[in-house]
Amino acid sequence: MGNTTYRDALRKALSDRMKADPDVVLIGEEVGRYGGAYGVTKGLVDEFGAERVIDTPISEPSIVGAAVGAAMSGLRPVAELMYVDFIGMTMDQLANQAAKIRYMFGGQIGVPMILRTQGGTGRSAGAQHSQSLEAYVMHTPGLRLAMPATVSDAYHLLQQSMAQPDPVVFIEHKALYATTGELDDKTPAAPWGKAHVPHLGNDLVIVTYSRQLHYALLAAETLAKDGIEATIIDLRTLNPLDIDTIRLHVERCGRAIVVSEGVMTAGVAAELAARISEECFDFLEDPVIRIAGEDIPISVSPLLETNSVPTPDLIAEAARMMLS
């Protein structure tokens, strides 16, 4: 181990689960022979056949809709949306069907499907291929939401997602596929819904997820040189949200920054900031600071792209300002 990529960890999670459960099927554009736009499903069609790794036409609404019907019919579909940017055309199937079926039908049936997709900046892919749209999902009751930052979570969270009784939107980050790390698939994973705290400090808490975890860790390194000790929380899942872990550390430190690559207004950072502000009010020395995507589309220009979302510098700068 030690040198597994995020991409390979995801593939292994799919493959392990497909071996264990014959009802798991993958369905999406280019998931078969092409191996997925980012290579995650490479080889799976050879291993499991075209009846379980199903290449589709470019029909996102119906891909999600077919997954809904398949999940209601006893399969465990893992649908793939090539870019989270395309979620807009699937929101009806996702939010009005997948998310509400259990409730509308009085609990008769759940929709245990996964929508795997990827988002974020980092490839000069422009305004329609670089977004972080997890807020739409988090705002939709009935949908679970997992966003792995690490190789280990790529594996474990995906495995866990595939065992959920309810629909899970699983958002990978395009800039993380080639990152490497240790994949321990023997020790039991942290429970579903539990945040991870990879760095402990007493001065402030940085709450984040997905690629921004790594930026936060970089910021924490710089800050340490200035004598500022940050606690970093990687949420891993946004629904369920591990408010207990957040509270524990924010009450201890008295200061919090929330970091999200999605645009700031009405985004995940807003929810986290609002939640921390209400839960930890008496402990806060400073307002909860939101470091998030700018309220703008993403440019193809690399310079503008990089500056459209949080950077390690900006996170560190915020922390220094708080503690100065």
Partner: protein, 343 residues
């Protein structure tokens, strides 16, 4: 035994009459102020679509419907009392009073759900078809929807997938000539809807929805083709006898057209045919109708007497019961302000 004969038509008449009468009672439920809201879409005039297709389906087959789906579900064996209770928003209803008329479903009878989104239930049958293929079962899945849903792109995506993957799926378009106030010729320049399906590689057919025997025959063929992996698309031509929903008096239709349209009555036609063939007579049919009327009358009382869902069920079934329900705003408030409320 209610039926005087065992003919298929007699059975179809029975089912169609039950649908007709049920829908009339839904109207009454509304008038009595007992329905949950006024978004009640009656399928009167469309009974042959429901029965002609539904009677060719088997146990284990699944289906989705649109918002005007009471008839289809009855044709597939629904208990009208539980339907009426659901339409009234009561706890004993099919969906515990959470769904209502537009969101009735029953997994036991293969009803994957009615839908208030035009076209929303269509791609589900693609998934159900994949599941059937996966299990190597010979079940099919049928999507029922209106002519209006042919405006929704998702239909064509789903048809394309069904044809590409040879899925055991049938698309049934109940063309009652209107989507709300829009007549089909104001919604498309090409009203021969089944031809679209052919252009995607499905079998396509169009039938006269006033004649349940024809509907059943054509549907039977399409369904057996679907079972062998050749998906189809069936347009059942009929007429929406009344308004779009309970409040709509169809001011946008002219009277002659309505009068003509209502002549295309599959229930009346079946009745006449039964009589003319000597299979039943007015008396036996009247007797049957009376029995059905009594059964359906009882559904109103059943629904009216049923209790509303308990307020504390409001957080149930957002997620699987094995996981904690969402925290209520009130609980959050109390907790956040640090003053646990006294119940």
């Amino acid at each position: 035994m209610r039926l005087q004969t065992n003919s298929r038509l007699a059975a179809h008449y029975h089912l169609m009459r039950r649908i007709r009468t049920f829908e009339e009672r839904v109207g009454e439920l509304f008038v009595r102020g007992q329905s949950a809201g006024s978004m009640l879409h009656l399928s009167i005039g469309e009974e042959a679509a429901a029965v002609g297709v539904g009677s060719n389906m088997r146990d284990g087959d699944t289906f989705t419907t649109h918002h005007r789906g009471h008839g289809v579900f009855l044709a597939r064996g629904a208990d009208p009392r539980l339907m009426m209770a659901e339409i009234a928003g009561k706890e004993t209803g099919y969906c515990s009073g959470k769904g209502g008329s537009m969101h009735i479903a029953d997994m036991k009878l293969g009803h994957l759900g009615a839908n208030a989104i035009v076209g929303g239930g269509i791609p589900s049958v693609v998934g159900a078809g994949l599941a059937a293929r996966h299990r190597k079962s010979d079940n099919i899945s049928v999507a029922f929807f209106g002519d209006g849903a042919t405006g929704q792109g998702i239909l064509y995506e789903s048809m394309n997938m069904a044809a590409l993957w040879h899925l055991p799926v049938l698309f049934v378009c109940i063309n009652n000539q209107y989507g709300m106030g829009t007549r089909i010729d104001n919604a498309t320049a090409a009203p021969d809807l089944h031809k679209r399906a052919v252009s995607f590689g499905l079998e396509g057919a169009q039938v006269d929805g006033s004649d349940v025997e024809t509907v059943a025959e054509v549907a039977g063929d399409l369904i057996s083709d679907a079972r062998s992996g050749k998906p189809g698309f069936l347009v059942v031509d009929c007429y929406r006898f009344y308004g779009h929903a309970r409040m709509d008096k169809s001011p946008y239709r002219d009277e002659t057209e309505e009068a003509q349209g209502r002549l295309r009555d599959p229930v009346a036609k079946a009745r006449q045919t039964l009589i003319s063939r000597g299979e039943m007579n007015d008396e036996s049919l009247d007797e049957l109708d009376r029995q059905i009327a009594a059964e359906m009358d009882a559904t109103i009382d059943f629904a009216a007497d049923a209790r509303e869902p308990q307020l504390d069920s409001i957080f149930d079934d957002v997620y699987d019961p094995s996981t904690p329900p969402p925290e209520s705003v009130r609980d959050r408030l109390a907790r956040v302000l640090g003053r646990a409320r006294q119940a």
